[in-house]
Structures are given as structure tokens and as C-alpha cells.
């Protein structure tokens, strides 16, 4: 699998993403600068976490208009897989690859902790290595992860299997007390309609090794490598 990781001014989890991709695929991903206008031929585009443009104006809003994003959108339209994590989720949502918006956390504070997620749909290369309904632990680290969309869209997301992950309790129950940011219906990550694009707030790339004390994120990268090699 060949992958590209997009770097914006203020990106700060590109190294984590590179390490996770390299460990899974054995190949170093391309780092692509936001001002570039062309992408190498790749199977996966990863938009990493961070504070692109300082999250000034609105998280992801300025990065969504970086020159490289035209190319990212064009590739996504051709079916190239796109994974947006944290700020990357915010950026690809602002860029129109995914519906909805990410607002300030309900408690108005940045939150860094390990959360429990339920895998809602395994019919994608991102989630194929998980069991449907499996409870996994990923860390979150964000201030603006409160997913919102209109009632009609959320109904469609649910109906079409576009909800990828939901925040749940340690026992797998839907429970607002375990939702770290106030996201609508506990939504932590969503697919596009074709399930070729995934955006999620939690960080699977920081849970891929014994060193992290958590390997729950590894199946995502292994699944991508298996599907895209």
C-alpha cells in the first residue's frame, strides 16, 4: 500500500500517522506539503491531526482551502481512500468530503483520554479487521470534536451504515456520560456514502503497539494494507 500524509502549517500528528502506516505496510508514506498541487500515485491519503492554521477562524476551515485539497477531493472522487483523523476529520468535513460539522466540545475544554468506541460498520477497508459491535479503546485529544449535523442527515448516516464509530461506556452501552465531547448520538467517526472516506476524532495511530500500551488501532492500518495492497 502506498500512502500520502498531507502536512499543513500546524499539523502535529503527522509523525504518529507515518509511524503507524510504516509499521503496518513496511513502506514509508509520502509527506505532501499543503501548498503542493499534485499528489503522487497512492492508495490512501491520510489527513493527520494537529492545529492547522492554529485552528484560527474555525478548526479545519482554512486548511480545507489549501491548494493540495483540490487534488485530495479529486482523488477521493476517483475512489482513492481518504482517512481524516482529528484535525484531519475537521479538514475533510470543511472541504465537503463528509457531511456535518465539528463544534467546540460540550464542556468547552480540550480533552485527552482513552475512550471506548463501538465499531458500527465493518464493511470498509478501514474497519474490516474489526468485528461489528466490537468495543475498542482509542485515545482522543481534541477541543473541537462535538459532531453535529441536521436530523435528516443523521437519519441517513444511520440508515446507510455511514456511522463508523460511536462513543460508548466501558461495557459498550450508549451512555452520554461516556461521550467525551457531546457529539450527536455519540458519533465518533463517519464514512462517506461509498465508505471510501473515513473521518474520526479519536486517534487509532496512537494505539498501535505494546509501547503505547494499546494495540486497538492496529487493525485499522492492517485492514487498509490488506485491502489496498
Amino acid at each position: 500500500m502506498k500512502a500520502a500524509v498531507i502536512v499543513f502549517p500546524g499539523s502535529n500528528r503527522e509523525r504518529d500517522a507515518v509511524a503507524a502506516l510504516e509499521a503496518a505496510s513496511g513502506t514509508k508514506p509520502h509527506l505532501v506539503w499543503h501548498r503542493d498541487t499534485e499528489l503522487p500515485k497512492v492508495d490512501l491519503i491520510l489527513v493527520p491531526g494537529g492545529f492547522s492554521y492554529g485552528d484560527y477562524l474555525r478548526s479545519g476551515a482554512m486548511a480545507a482551502h489549501s491548494p493540495i485539497m483540490r487534488e485530495v477531493k479529486a482523488r477521493a472522487d476517483q475512489g482513492v481512500r481518504v482517512l481524516g483523523i482529528c484535525n484531519g476529520f475537521q479538514i475533510i468535513t470543511e472541504a465537503g468530503l463528509l457531511p456535518g460539522a465539528l463544534m467546540r466540545n460540550a464542556k468547552l475544554k480540550f480533552i485527552c483520554r482513552t475512550v471506548h468506541l463501538r465499531v458500527e460498520n465493518t464493511d470498509s477497508p478501514f474497519t474490516a479487521k474489526y468485528r461489528k459491535g466490537q468495543i475498542v479503546r482509542y485515545p482522543v485529544a481534541h477541543g473541537d470534536g462535538n459532531y453535529w449535523t441536521d436530523a435528516e442527515t443523521v437519519k441517513r448516516l444511520d440508515g446507510e451504515g455511514q456511522v463508523a464509530f460511536r462513543y460508548v461506556s466501558d461495557e459498550g452501552r450508549d451512555d452520554p456520560l461516556w461521550n467525551p465531547n457531546g457529539s450527536l448520538d455519540g458519533i465518533a467517526g463517519i464514512f462517506n456514502a461509498k465508505r471510501t472516506v473515513l473521518g474520526l476524532m479519536p486517534h487509532p495511530e496512537d494505539a498501535v503497539s505494546a509501547f503505547h500500551g494499546n494495540t486497538d488501532g492496529k487493525p485499522m492500518f492492517d485492514g487498509l494494507v490488506e485491502a489496498l495492497s
Partner: protein, 738 residues
């Protein structure tokens, strides 16, 4: 020289700028004339306590600063130690106390920004942040607002720049009601042969300004940090700078990229006193002069005067001396990162600081005589009288309370309660190199990027000990840092000190400073734990009330492999729990005494440095051999609190049969040099054999078991109960305002 448009200088004005009459007269003598307005501003910041260390230097000189592991000791932007294999660790801790009290969010945020720059300016990529915070009494009307603002400010800055905040400490005490402490520490990694220093060299070399534009923020911040607060301190808000972590992140990447070329001769960040201290220090260290043309300084505001430009403390700015002809290479990098880049002067051979603007000369003064003449005081000091020993009866447990109630009370007191509400606001995981963060181990642990080697980091100080006995308190802070690093298995390398004290013009306060330094120096020597960087913050007083003496120690240790590091959590049922070291049941200045008996009395626990060293070496050797499952040093709250923390972290209880009949001294005494370890039951005998051979007292406390602390007369104290008490206080306290 033209002095048009500059106000007339007078003694009155010099006093307003913080100079004494003697200092002003000395300036007249050196210059042989009246200084200009700009010159007076520059001299006043150079001679401020904050920049000159005039009250503290005499004593700081007595600290040990050398050792085979030291690459660069105090005097540069940060200290540098050898981590083997050509790697260098660069680190420092610095205070931002005064600004954080006046404007907590920006004050704390820019404190993080400043210490990051001190570290990456030397060529290091920052890999970990820590912070040591002291707030006033929880009941004080400002405390909640200050906690909220400081934590949000640290989070705002540290999270955005992408450096994990992996630990720290937080205390509450009424002595900090009017002067909170915000001490921030950054640790970075560089190649030992690619370290950048600040001494300018090369007559005619270009002086380059990079980073943010200069505005009017922070003018005379260094002077503010060199005076006591009074009722009108709120009016000083305009002197607090505003931070932009996004620009800092770009600056880190741009500077590190430039450092991979051969373009740089010297580099320094513009910290306190901005362009003044950076230009004067760089030229001064190189024995050269420097001429600046301020028209070329990137400016954010219209109509700034030379005085304002020289004294601005706008953030995220660096001064670089480039090799001749490398301007284009450097500019291309800063253009890529969309940062300002301007050649604003040249190095000269005349030893003078010359400042030009609008075709006029605003400052023309010799650097060395002014720097060298920065005053040095041997301030009068009084030793702190020894506290009376406590009566023996204090060791008896109170008859009217159960042990569970006592432990619950201690676990939920503001100093001991979980600080999760704070550290969950910090990104502790970015970079994917964090092994242990707050709450998991006695020190934060990260691995070096792309390597398995680990660095452990801790910050420590027990101010209540320092007030009762500054010498013991100073030694204890260093010993505790040594112990916290040893407890995770790391070899202690070196120390950075952040000396927070009251007004040094009062002999009692100066005596606290002198005593703390003496204790620290003794401990650093005995433990081969030299001081390589530091910062002094004096005048932490409001209306004559001083803070507790707080010599905060930041320290780093080395792990050959970060994966061998051991955390505090109990991991298995049936492990043997061992006590390393022994105590006399010392309750003076203990949390038990304060929280249960309502007394802040007695001497703090004595520190036997030979025992500290022996026990630390022993614990490290056990961890290196893979014999230790869980490890925690005994500190605030004593033995039972330590075991409770290990149980809470792992969700596994303990049967403490070894504590049958123990009194309050044994359970809650804060004797130093001790650790609690959990080892696999089948290894316990081997560990005890090794202890005997090493001459280290080791006793069996019991075994890990169940979901409660049991034994000792049969009363079971559940982990759930302790956890609830420990976790509830801070969120409850903070929510009360929301």
C-alpha cells in the same frame, strides 16, 4: 547624538524604571553622560533582578554544575546533558508567575512558549513538557479563576505546538493567594555535535530577525517581574504578552530546518526584555559590538519608538547571526513557513550597542561595561530558626476515627486529590512516543524519536518542608526528583532549578533562599546530580505577604530502553509488596498532621543523602533486571497513601499483613529515601537476598489482592471508596463556579 523626540531622563524616571539611585549614578559614570531615554530603558532591564540575577547570583554560583554527563551548564538558553550514542538532552524550567497572576490564560500560555524557545533555540526538538503549579487556598475567591485560566493557557499553547505535556505537580496553600506560581519545563533532544549557542561571532555578519512581528505588548515585563505586587497590580495587565502557539509551531519547524544547513553562527530567542537582552547578550558573549537599524524590524503597529521596539516582549521571535552570504538560504526557509525574516543589523568590532532609526542614533553605549556593571548584591540574610520536634503522643492513631476515614480524608485533600481535571486538558500523547504520563508513574517517560531509548522527567518540591527548614527542604526537593526518576528505573542525569521566593531585600526571605540553595547543593553533590539550567523568580509577595519558599526542581533521567520503565499500578493478584528503606515514623510537616490533626508544625523529615543514593541505585538495579512489576516512591501522605495510589492505579487491592498494629507514624510518616515495590511472589526471596547483599533494608508489607486494602486489624478500605474520594475533589471544586 540626536535625542530629539525622546523624553528627558532623570533620577525620578530611573526610579520608575526600577533602578535605585546608586544604580542610576553608576550608569552616569559608565556612560560619562546622561543616558538617552532608550538607553535608560535598556539599562534598567539589563540590571533588573529578572535579567541580572543580582540578588541570587552569589548563591547560585555555589551549586554544582559539572559532571561527565554535562555538555553545557548554566549560562546558555538551557542546559545540555549527554544521553549517549551522540544524543543530547536539552532542558530547562522557567517561571511565568507574575504575568500568570495578572492574566492567567496568556501568562501561562506565554510561559510555555518561552521555555519551548529556550530549548529549540539550542537545536533541540522539544519532546516533552511539564509544569509545576502553586495556587492559593481553594476558598480564596480568585483561586478557581486562576486554576481555570492557567490550565487552559498551558493547554492552548502546549497542545497546539504538538509537544506532549507528560506530567507536573499542583499544590494549594494560602501563601500563594496573591502570587501563584507557574513553572514550565521543556525537554528536547538534539545531536550532541549539532548544538547551537548564543555567542555572536564574525565582524560584519548579518543580524537577522525571524518570527512574529513586534508590537507594544510586554513592554517592561522584566521590570514587573522584579517587584512586589500591590493592590494596583491589575493595572499591569497591558504588560502581559499575548501568545500565538501556531506561529511558535512554525518557528520550531523553520528553525530546526535552518539548523540542518550550515547557515547559523549563533541564535537566541527574544525572551524577557526582547530585542534588548538578545542583542546585548549575543554580542556581549562574543566580545563584539552590534548595530541595529530598527526601521527594518517587522512591526505590527504604527509609530513605534526605538524605546518600545527595544523593550517589547512580543512573543515568538528569534535573533540569528548568519554566516555571510547565507541570507537567501535562510530566507527561503522562513518564506516557506510564512514567517517574517529581516536583516536588521550587523556585528561590529567596536563593542558598542548602536541603535539607529529614522536616520538618527538613539543608543550608543558600550556593551561590556554596562553588562559587567550589572549590580551584584550580597544581601543580608537570617537563617530560619529550627522548628520544635513533635511530642511522641502524636504517633497514636485517633480513637474516634477509623483508618478508612483518615485515609479517605487525606486522599481527597486539595494537595493529594487527583489532578485528572488538569492533565486531561493537556495532550500527553502527541508524537506517539509517550510511555508514561501523569498518574501512571513517578516520572513522565517518553522515548527519543525513532529510538527505543527513553527519557524520564519529573518536577518536585514540597514547599511546606522548605518553609519549616529551607536547607532540608532544598535537599528534599532534589532527593525526591532523584527518587522519582529511580522509581521508574531511570538513571538520574541532571537538574534544572526554578527558585521561587519572596522579597530578597528582607533578611528572613533571603535566608530561605540561601538555605534552600545550601540544601540543594549538598544533595546535588551527593547524588551526582548537577544543576545545568535554572531560573530565579523573586518578589513573589503581595502587600508584604510572601509565598512559601518554593525551589522547584525539574530533572531528567535516562532509560536504555523506555519499555523497561515501571509504573505505579499494581498489575497482578498475588504479587509481593515490599518496602525499600526504613523510617522512624516522622510526622513533622506531614499531610497527616495538617489534614487530620490540623497542625502545620514540626521539622520536615531529614534527608540522608547516602541512603537516598544507595536505595535509588538498588531500585534501579532491580528494574534493570526486570524484577519489578510496580514501583512508587513514598512521599506526601506516607506509606499507606503510596500503597493506596498503587491500588487505585491498577484496580487491584492489597492485603497489608505486614502493617498489623502500625501507628500513625508508620502509616503516614513522610520519612525519605523509601519506595514501595510489587514483585512477582516467586521473585520476592531473590529480591530480599539482593537487598541484604546491598545493605538495603527491605521488608514485606503484604501482597496484592482483591479490591480493597485489608489487613491491619481487618478493616477493609475499598479501592472504589478511595478512588471516589481522590477523583471527586477537583472536578467538584471547579464545577462549583460553572
Amino acid at each position: 547624538m540626536t535625542t530629539a523626540q525622546q523624553p528627558e531622563v532623570s533620577l525620578e524616571m530611573a526610579r520608575e524604571f526600577g533602578l535605585s539611585e546608586g544604580e542610576y549614578n553608576n550608569a552616569l559614570k559608565i556612560l560619562g553622560r546622561q543616558p538617552t531615554y532608550t538607553e535608560l530603558g535598556i539599562i534598567s532591564v539589563m540590571w533588573s533582578e529578572h535579567c541580572s540575577y543580582k540578588s541570587s547570583k552569589k548563591w547560585l554560583m555555589t551549586l554544582p554544575t559539572t559532571g561527565p554527563q554535562v555538555i553545557c551548564g548554566p549560562g546558555e538558553n538551557a542546559g545540555v546533558v549527554d544521553a549517549g550514542d551522540g544524543d543530547a538532552i536539552i532542558f530547562k524550567m522557567e517561571s511565568h508567575n507574575h504575568p500568570s497572576y495578572i492574566e492567567p490564560f496568556q501568562g501561562a500560555a506565554t510561559g510555555v512558549g518561552g521555555i519551548l524557545r529556550d530549548v529549540f533555540t539550542m537545536g533541540a526538538r522539544p519532546i516533552a513538557n511539564m509544569n509545576a503549579l502553586r495556587f492559593g487556598a481553594p476558598e480564596h475567591p480568585k483561586t478557581r479563576h486562576l486554576v481555570s485560566g492557567v490550565v487552559a493557557g498551558i493547554a492552548h499553547y502546549g497542545n497546539c505546538v504538538g509537544v506532549p505535556t507528560i506530567g507536573g505537580e499542583t499544590n494549594f496553600h494560602p501563601a500563594y493567594n496573591g502570587n501563584i506560581l507557574v513553572n514550565a519545563m521543556t525537554v528536547g533532544v538534539a545531536k550532541a555535535d549539532r548544538i547551537f549557542y548564543s555567542a555572536a561571532a564574525g565582524i560584519g555578519n548579518p543580524v537577522v530577525y525571524v518570527g512574529s512581528k513586534t508590537g507594544r505588548d510586554g513592554i517592561h515585563g522584566a521590570t514587573m517581574a522584579s517587584a512586589e505586587f500591590s493592590e494596583d497590580s491589575e493595572e499591569k495587565r497591558p504588560t502581559v504578552q499575548v501568545g500565538d502557539p501556531f506561529t511558535e509551531k512554525l518557528l520550531i519547524e523553520a528553525c530546526l530546518e535552518l539548523m540542518e544547513t550550515d547557515a547559523i553562527v549563533a541564535i537566541q530567542d527574544m525572551g524577557a526584555a526582547g530585542l534588548t537582552s538578545s542583542s546585548v547578550e549575543m554580542a556581549g558573549k562574543g566580545g563584539l559590538g552590534i548595530e541595529l537599524v530598527l526601521d527594518d524590524v517587522p512591526m505590527r503597529e504604527e509609530g513605534m519608538t526605538p524605546y518600545e521596539i527595544m523593550l517589547s516582549e512580543s512573543q515568538e521571535r528569534m535573533l540569528i547571526i548568519l554566516k555571510p552570504g547565507r541570507e537567501e538560504v535562510a530566507k527561503a526557509i522562513f518564506d516557506k513557513w510564512e514567517l517574517d525574516f529581516a536583516v536588521i543589523g550587523t556585528l561590529t568590532d567596536n563593542g558598542k550597542l548602536v541603535i539607529k532609526m529614522h536616520g538618527q542614533t538613539w543608543c550608543d553605549m558600550p556593551i561590556a561595561p554596562v553588562s559587567n556593571a550589572s549590580p551584584l548584591y550580597d544581601r543580608p540574610w537570617e537563617p530560619t530558626p529550627a522548628a520544635a520536634e513533635l511530642e511522641d503522643a502524636v504517633r497514636a492513631l485517633p480513637a474516634d476515627r477509623t483508618l478508612g476515614d483518615i485515609l479517605e480524608k487525606i486522599m481527597s485533600c486539595p494537595d493529594q486529590a487527583s489532578k485528572r481535571w488538569i492533565w486531561e486538558q493537556y495532550d500527553s500523547l502527541v508524537n506517539g512516543d509517550t510511555r508514561f504520563m501523569s498518574g501512571q508513574a513517578d516520572a513522565g517517560v517518553v522515548r527519543l524519536p525513532g529510538q527505543s531509548k527513553g527519557i524520564a522527567v519529573t518536577t518536585d518540591c514540597t514547599p511546606r518542608y522548605c518553609l519549616a527548614d529551607p536547607v532540608r527542604g532544598g535537599a528534599q526537593a532534589v532527593a525526591e526528583a532523584y527518587r522519582n526518576l529511580s522509581a521508574v528505573g531511570a538513571l538520574p542525569l541532571a537538574v534544572t532549578d526554578n527558585m521561587n521566593f519572596g522579597n530578597p531585600e528582607k533578611p528572613r526571605i533571603m535566608g530561605q533562599f540561601v538555605g534552600a540553595i545550601q540544601g540543594m547543593a549538598d544533595a546535588c553533590r551527593a547524588l551526582d546530580f548537577p544543576v545545568v539550567s535554572g531560573n530565579v523568580s523573586l518578589y513573589n509577595e503581595t502587600n508584604g505577604e510572601a509565598i512559601l519558599p518554593t525551589p522547584a526542581i525539574g530533572a531528567v533521567g535516562l532509560l536504555p530502553d523506555a519499555m523497561i520503565a515501571v509504573g505505579i499500578a499494581f498489575r497482578n493478584e498475588g504479587d509481593t509488596i515490599l518496602l525499600v528503606g526504613e523510617g522512624t515514623g516522622h510526622l513533622g510537616q506531614s499531610l497527616y498532621l495538617r489534614e487530620i490533626l490540623g497542625r502545620e508544625e514540626g521539622p520536615p523529615p531529614p534527608v540522608d543523602l547516602a541512603v537516598e543514593r544507595r536505595n535509588g541505585e538498588f531500585v534501579r538495579s532491580l528494574i534493570a533486571e526486570g524484577l519489578v512489576v510496580s514501583s512508587h516512591d513514598i512521599q506526601d501522605g506516607g506509606l499507606l497513601v503510596t500503597v493506596a495510589e498503587m491500588a487505585m492505579a491498577g484496580g487491584i487491592g492489597a492485603n497489608l499483613s505486614g502493617l498489623d498494629g502500625a501507628d500513625a507514624g508508620t502509616l503516614f510518616g513522610e520519612d525519605q529515601g523509601r519506595y514501595v515495590l510489587a514483585v512477582r511472589a516467586d521473585k520476592a526471596a531473590a529480591v530480599q537476598e539482593k537487598a541484604k547483599a546491598a545493605g538495603v533494608p527491605v521488608s514485606v508489607l503484604g501482597k496484592t489482592n482483591g479490591t480493597a486494602l485489608t489487613g491491619r486489624g481487618g478493616e477493609a478500605i475499598t479501592i472504589a471508596r478511595l478512588k471516589k474520594a481522590n477523583e471527586a475533589w477537583l472536578p467538584g471544586y471547579m464545577a462549583a463556579a460553572e
